[in-house]
């Protein structure tokens, strides 16, 4: 379980989060959705223990979060952070050596599913395949918390589809909670349980996506556009 209590985050000259409360439970896939600069990545890094809140508290499984939380949090960065001189196989080996919950067999299964050649050098991979490799490394960990920051951004529809399908195939919702940030809601809306809309460092709403479809009879995209506009007018 992930809990954020009145979390504020200021960087040197700008405020990223203005007091956020969140509660996320295992067994669900959450979509953290918002425009660029709304605070998505900051929220993810706080949960991953990569940065500390300016005020407020972040808990994962009732533990206050610090850098050591990486033991139970598998974090996919929006950046590429690979060693180019490694092969795909060596990269997987490296990750396996870093995380005790890394399941080597599962990694191979995902790698095969993603049709990645184990012997390719990482620096020779296409952008799409680097995106796939990130999925392999993130999902092969049997961590209770999976954070994926923009796993789809800048990738073509085929790659996005394989990533979304791979996600459903390889997560273990009985034991894991997944948070995905994206601005491509359409790509992920069918796999989300709940959507969290963030804007200017504040959570506008957290809601079950099927409930939105039942109650609003509109697409998630339209619903969110309205929400954003309404907030602009207030």
């Amino acid at each position: 379980m992930i809990r954020l209590k009145q979390v504020k985050k200021r960087y040197l000259n700008k405020t990223a989060l203005r007091g956020i409360d969140l509660e996320l439970v295992p067994g669900k896939i959450y979509g953290l959705i918002g425009a660029n600069g709304s605070g998505k990545s900051t929220t993810m890094k706080l949960i991953a223990g990569l940065i500390q809140p300016t005020s407020g508290h972040v808990f994962v499984n009732d533990q206050p979060v610090d850098r050591r939380i990486a033991k139970v949090v598998s974090y996919l960065s929006e950046l590429d952070e690979f060693y180019g001189f490694y092969t795909v196989e060596e990269t997987i080996d490296f990750y396996a050596s870093q995380f005790s919950d890394f399941n080597r067999k599962k990694a191979d299964a995902i790698r095969e599913y993603m049709k990645l050649d184990p012997n390719s050098k990482v620096k020779h991979l296409s952008k799409g395949n680097r995106g796939r490799l990130k999925i392999v490394l993130t999902l092969a960990r049997e961590a209770p918390v999976i954070l994926m920051d923009e796993p789809l951004s800048g990738l073509d529809p085929m790659v996005r589809d394989s990533i979304v399908k791979g996600l459903i195939s390889f997560i273990d919702l009985e034991h894991q909670v997944v948070i995905i940030t994206t601005h491509e809601i359409k790509e992920v809306e069918a796999i989300l349980d709940e959507i969290i809309v963030i804007k200017n460092g504040k959570i506008l709403v957290q809601e079950n996506v099927e409930d939105i479809r039942v109650n609003e009879k509109t697409t998630i995209v339209e619903w969110m556009t309205k929400l954003y506009e309404k907030d602009n007018n207030e």
Partner: protein, 127 residues
């Protein structure tokens, strides 16, 4: 995505209807085993919890039965399948009629139009 859903309607209901149609068409027969929740989720590209909800819903209506440790099976109870057939028929008819009404057709126009159309559809009764 492989099977696209209408993004403005609840997916669990769309999936429910999809499976019901498969049963009607005979793609899924009474007593057949349904794919596991995970398989179904992967196949249709939706959240496993959504599939779970669909299965729960179908179980509540009685269309499927879950046998512990074995999986989910299409019911063999004729009465339930028959009533599902009725429900789906009525749903489809009401969808059609609402659409026609919205365009301003009278009941009579709908009826005559329908019977003319059906008389032009050959062999559908003989099948």
């Amino acid at each position: 995505m492989t099977d696209s859903f209408d993004p403005s309607a609840p997916i669990y209901l769309q999936l429910l209807e999809r499976i019901q149609r498969q049963i009607l068409r005979g793609d899924l027969k009474p007593g057949d085993k349904l794919p596991s929740v995970r398989e179904m989720a992967i196949h249709s590209g939706v959240n496993p919890n959504t599939v779970q909800r669909t299965y729960r819903e179908m179980e509540a209506i009685g269309i499927v039965e879950t046998r512990r440790g074995q999986g989910t099976f299409v019911t063999e109870k004729e009465a339930i399948l028959q009533s599902m057939r009725e429900t789906l028929k009525n749903k489809e008819i009401s969808r059609f009629v609402e659409g026609m009404k919205a365009m301003g057709y009278t009941h009579e126009e709908i009826l005559t139009g329908l019977s003319i159309y059906l008389s032009g559809v050959k062999g559908s009764d003989q099948e």
